[in-house]
């Protein structure tokens, strides 16, 4: 094997070419053999997986990569000089074997790594993934998580509407609307800057004390939410409304100014141009960034436990504290991850479906005319 690596680059004469392909073959074979040997050793001596892991990863993997590079080089040489087919085939075979060596060593290394972590750190498994505890806490955790789901679904619907209201307010024309525009700007600046946890704290604990008439009473209920939960939803809407308003605004401003001009040129009022032409196009463009904010919102529902809302995280951490085992929290974490995946896929689908139309700028979308380039606005 050391001989193989030590061999110099293939030179043009016939025997050397042979040697190039041969060397590639030997090295790649060694990579596979090493990987297999690692696996075998690991299987026979389960206690010593850490060392075998090193052996496989430090030797077999780089060897495979080297063999692949060397094989390619040899093959290129042979093909360049129209060398004999057998040499070419040998080099190609060497490349395939090298790929196998790379894949095998990575798989083995990963497998051994997990195995090492698993067996070496049994306590870790016991603490984070204890099956009995996962089972025992499942009911509690899912009940709590359902509250998270309910909260974020309602909050997301409200955020969609509220964010759009703020964004459109910010775009209102005319002097009369100036105070409204300032309010919208101030709102976004404040709530985007405030840490969510502070907003939640202030809203849930502060608002009831303020005795403002709009604050729901202690016995109020809406959609099955009690007072604290309502305030929790409100806090999340305030935080994420600010983000989403900015997302919408970016979307609105990304619609080419000519679209607004074309709409107004047809006699549509500013409001109608916004409603029928600008906003529908903006909405389609903001779906992906909107989804990011929604995923953020979903995760931040867990913060509501500081407000004394018995949602998933409160339930899970409660179980963890009583049983000295964190598996309930791991289980909840899995729930949060799992729920975002279909959303992401759905977004991808929506985006792909709309993609062609989103791009639509019509004639000469690539043409920058003078007015457009200098920022002309209707």
């Amino acid at each position: 094997m050391a001989n193989g690596i030590g061999d110099t680059a293939p030179s043009p004469d016939r025997t050397a070419r042979d040697r190039g392909a041969m060397t590639a073959m030997v090295v790649s074979g060694a990579s596979v053999a090493l990987a297999l040997a690692g696996g075998l050793v690991a299987a026979l001596r389960a206690s010593d997986t850490n060392n075998t892991f090193l052996l496989v990863f430090v030797l077999a993997f780089p060897l495979g990569v080297f063999a692949l590079w060397f094989g390619r080089r040899a093959e290129t040489h042979i093909v360049d000089r129209d060398g004999p087919d057998e040499d070419e085939q040998l080099a190609r075979l060497a490349r395939r074997v090298a790929v196998a060596g790379i894949v095998l060593s990575v798989l083995l290394a990963c497998g051994l790594g997990v195995w090492a972590a698993w067996t070496g750190l049994e306590d870790v498994q016991e603490i984070f993934f204890s099956l009995p505890d996962l089972g025992d806490s499942a009911g509690l955790v899912t009940d709590g998580f359902l509250l998270n789901v309910k909260i974020f679904v309602v909050a997301e619907v409200l955020v969609l509407v509220w964010g759009l209201v703020v964004a459109v307010t910010r775009e209102l024309p005319g002097r009369a609307a100036a105070p409204l525009r300032w309010l919208a700007v101030a709102y976004v600046d404040i709530f985007r800057g405030l840490p969510a946890i502070i907003t939640i704290y202030l809203v849930v604990f502060g608002l009831p004390l303020s005795r403002l008439p709009i604050v729901p009473g202690t016995d109020a209920s809406f959609l099955g939410f009690d007072q604290v939960e309502m305030l929790g939803v409100l806090a999340l809407v305030l935080v994420y409304g600010a983000y989403v308003a900015e997302v919408y605004r970016a979307g609105i401003e990304s619609v080419h100014w000519s679209q607004r001009a074309a709409a107004q040129g047809l006699g549509l009022s500013r409001g109608q141009a916004m409603r029928y032409v600008v906003v529908p196009q903006a909405l389609r463009r903001v779906v992906p960034p909107l989804m990011n904010d929604f995923i953020g919102l979903q995760k931040d529902t867990a913060l509501l436990n500081i407000a004394g809302i018995f949602e998933g995280f409160a339930a899970a951490s409660n179980y963890a504290n009583n049983n000295f085992n964190l598996s309930s929290v791991t289980g909840l974490g899995i729930c949060f991850v799992v729920i975002t995946i279909p959303m992401t896929r759905f977004t991808d689908y929506l985006v792909r479906r709309d993609q062609r139309r989103l791009r639509g700028g019509g004639v000469g979308a690539a043409v920058t005319d003078v007015v457009g380039a200098s920022g002309g606005r209707a």
């Binding site: 005319g174 709409a263 009022s269 062609r356 989103l358 019509g362 004639v363 000469g364 005319d369």
Partner: protein, 248 residues
């Protein structure tokens, strides 16, 4: 001869740059006026001032008896009578062709969907795109898109049409179909102001050609005169340069 458009002493500034510097122009009924001039001479700006898309710095513009002032309600009313087609980004990409054409009649003139479609269909047939009514703009060629944009403006039955270099973003083989349509419109008696680099079109169709230079109408007159014996040296120079670039 009733003037459809009356422009007096129109000045338009963007910050410290004066783009239009005292424009006087009358356009009478059924007249076709072509605006020519170098890039940046203010053709687009002039058109946009005529339907109030740009606020005027000073001077007056009257269209079909209505004065252009910066008042949203008055402007919306005025724009019903004025169709405008731009160089690009005309059609609404999220709407079908039919929806594009019927939007303004429905929302501005408050026609029912059926009434609006009855109005739109013959117009689409006229440009041979009736079968594309439910297609989205991105599936149309550039020339088809521009013709739909014209038809969309016509659906409002305007008294005046403004065209801002609507063929200059098109592939050369698509330019003709659009120019032919504009020619037809002119022959039917539509009053039009056309900013264009298509000198042959201006020569054939215009009643009056205005040469814009540094924010002023340096020279205006019938196309035969402007194109064959321009009075101003600058006009001659511009035409010579245009000719050399093969656009006449």
């Amino acid at each position: 001869m009733t003037p459809v458009v009356e422009i007096r002493g129109l000045v338009k500034r963007f910050g410290f740059t004066t783009v239009l510097d005292g424009i006087d122009l009358d356009v009478t009924d059924h007249e076709v006026v072509c605006l020519i001039g170098a890039s940046g001479s203010g053709k687009s700006t002039l058109l946009r001032c005529v339907n109030g898309l740009e606020p005027l710095s000073s001077g007056t513009v009257t269209v079909a008896g209505r004065t252009v002032i910066q008042d949203d309600i008055k402007l919306n009313r005025l724009r019903r009578d004025v169709g405008i087609v731009f160089q690009s980004y005309n059609l609404f990409p999220h709407m079908t062709v039919m929806h594009n054409v019927t939007l303004a009649p429905r929302k501005v003139l408050h026609l029912s969907t059926e009434e609006a479609e009855q109005r739109a269909r013959p117009l689409l047939e006229r440009i041979g795109l009736a079968d594309k009514a439910s297609a989205y703009p991105d599936s149309l060629s550039g020339g088809q898109q521009q013709r739909v944009a014209i038809v969309r403006a016509l659906a409002m039955q305007p008294k005046l049409m403004l065209f801002d270099e609507i063929t200059s973003a098109l592939d050369p083989e698509l330019v003709n179909e659009v120019l032919l349509m504009m020619k037809d419109l002119a022959q039917e008696g539509m009053t039009m102001i056309v900013a264009t680099h298509e000198m042959a079109f201006a020569r054939d169709v215009a009643n009056k050609v205005c040469f814009l230079h540094q924010g002023k109408i340096l020279e205006e007159g019938p196309p035969q005169q402007i194109f064959t014996s321009p009075k101003e040296e600058r006009t001659a120079e511009f035409l010579k340069r245009t000719l050399e670039s093969g656009r006449l």
